[in-house]
């Protein structure tokens, strides 16, 4: 989102937190919520790494792989985009053990969410690579580079820079999706909120704080990605040279 929107949202969030949460509420809820937030962050980070790996693998397979590999990549993408994260999460959590594979809840969560976001990420990677102009390929040919070398040193670096903003959005989607793990008994931020709510029924306070914390983490992600983009382009604005 544009910077102005971010600031407005942040102000509203924290103001809401201040208004709705009493001081006693802070003391009561914040420690537990922060513990839950830590779990949320871990799952987000793990899922993000898996998503990037899965997305690049699938996109490169789809673009340059032999036909069976391409078919496999397409299946992965269609299945994980065609069903929702929750369905995938439940499938890994409930069904895999019945097929003999037992994963810890955390592992199921990271696997399901990582693969889910990775399927959307594959499209982002493909778009990034195709977005690099054909003339860069031609310049590589003129310098007698092999296709693999050109892809590795010339095309991918440029593609990655263009991909950073859409990946930022995907990571925020990932963050939001982590709330689903509360439904498979993982003590993330949402689970803790539900727990506290059942215990005290101070719904408005608790959930406002929770929403503010999620917002805070998503702001961290947004700023992180912007910093990454600045670092990758050497300080210059996203510019194209000829």
């Amino acid at each position: 989102m544009p910077l102005k929107s971010i600031i407005v949202t942040a102000i509203v969030a924290f103001a809401a937190g201040l208004i709705f949460a009493s001081f006693a509420g802070y003391e009561l809820f914040i420690p537990g919520l922060l513990q839950g937030a830590w779990i949320t962050i871990q799952i987000t980070a793990g899922g993000a790494v898996l998503a990037v790996i899965a997305a690049f693998t699938a996109a490169l397979a789809k673009l340059y792989g032999p036909t069976p590999l391409r078919w496999l990549a397409n299946c992965y993408i269609e299945i994980f985009r065609g069903t929702s994260a929750l369905v995938q999460l439940f499938w890994l959590f409930f069904v895999l053990p019945q097929l003999g594979v037992t994963l810890s809840p955390m592992s199921s969560a990271i696997l399901a969410l990582g693969l889910n976001i990775g399927a959307y990420g594959a499209e982002v990677v493909r778009g990034g690579i195709n977005g690099v102009s054909r003339e860069q390929w031609e310049a590589s040919v003129a310098l007698n580079m092999s296709r693999a070398l050109a892809l590795r040193r010339i095309i991918l670096p440029q593609a990655v820079i263009a991909m950073i903003p859409p990946w930022g959005n995907l990571f925020i989607e990932l963050l939001k999706a982590t709330s689903l793990v509360s439904l498979i008994t993982i003590s993330d931020l949402t689970f803790r909120a539900q727990q506290m709510n059942q215990a005290t029924f101070r719904t408005v306070e608790i959930f406002t704080l929770v929403l503010a914390i999620y917002l805070g983490i998503s702001l961290l992600i947004t700023f992180g990605m912007r910093a990454l983009e600045r670092a990758a382009t050497g300080g210059t604005v996203r510019g194209r040279a000829n």
């Binding site: 310049a139 040919v141 007698n144 382009t233 510019g239």
Partner: protein, 270 residues
């Protein structure tokens, strides 16, 4: 039928550096190059002129293996480029073979095509390191020498975005020459430049042509430069060489009418 007159160049009788033999290129129904025969002698400087759509850029692009050919064979320094010899027969070249031959050819593009994520120096050492296998030190030494020759010794750490068009094109030239090609192709390299920047690029080409004894093919609209620099001028029309000869002849007293028409139109516009 198109006529074609040519003045034989001294040295063509010995092995040509570049030979197009019956080369044809089609895009769907359109024949862009029609059974082209063209020999370029070692160290010869050939200027290719003609109206758009006449096939001149296609000639360069096929030589640089950017486009496949439909018929015919291209030879570079005696070896086939587009085809390879398998059991005494000529067969379409595979990627690996292409790479073994096209290292002799370098190209400079109209829109520079520098790598935006690398510095000027980075652009010029990338291929020498990763394709030729030079060490970083060797590659840098070579690159710095070339960049200083084109007057950009002080811009080594700059990114392409910060350079003017003329500077970018000079970097592109240095980058191509760092691969020590035998043949250099220039595809309308000044057409995208502001007029006042054209001169510095042409100077660089002139100087390097002498320094490195290169064979050059240039598609250009810069008639003045062609007149002064080229050994031979080829006028392309509708996919064939309509007329060719030394610049004095082509520019001052062409044999064929269409050549004269084209030149008048260009000189009037310029």
């Amino acid at each position: 039928m198109n006529e074609r007159t040519s003045d034989p160049q001294p040295g063509v009788a010995s092995q040509p550096m570049v030979r197009f033999s019956g080369v044809t290129k089609r895009y769907g129904d359109l024949t862009v190059l029609d059974n082209l025969d063209l020999d370029v002698a070692p160290q010869e400087k050939v200027a290719i002129i003609g109206p758009s759509g006449s096939g001149k850029t296609t000639v360069l692009r096929m030589l640089m293996t950017l486009e496949p050919i439909d018929d015919g064979v291209i030879y570079v320094d005696g070896r086939p480029l587009t085809h390879m010899e398998v059991n005494g027969e000529l067969v379409r070249a595979n990627e690996k073979y292409l790479r073994s031959v096209r290292g002799d050819i370098g190209m400079v593009f109209q829109h520079f095509n520098l790598f935006p994520h690398m510095t000027v120096l980075g652009n010029c050492v990338e291929a020498p390191i990763h394709v030729l296998g030079l060490s970083k030190a060797e590659a840098e030494e070579r690159a710095v020498e070339l960049l200083e020759m084109v007057g950009l010794g002080d811009k080594l750490g700059e990114y392409p975005q910060r350079l003017s068009g003329g500077q970018k094109q000079r970097v592109a030239i240095a980058r191509a020459l760092a691969m020590r090609p035998k043949v250099m192709l220039f595809d309308e390299v000044t057409s995208a430049l502001d007029p006042e920047l054209v001169g510095e690029v042409l100077n660089a080409i002139r100087m390097l042509g002498k320094e490195f004894q290169l064979t050059m093919l240039m598609v250009t609209h810069q008639m003045g430069f062609a007149k002064e620099f080229a050994d031979r001028v080829c006028f392309f029309y509708e996919g064939r060489i309509h007329e060719e000869g030394p610049p004095e002849k082509i520019f001052n007293a062409p044999d064929l009418e269409r050549t004269q028409q084209f030149l008048s139109a260009v000189l009037e516009a310029g």
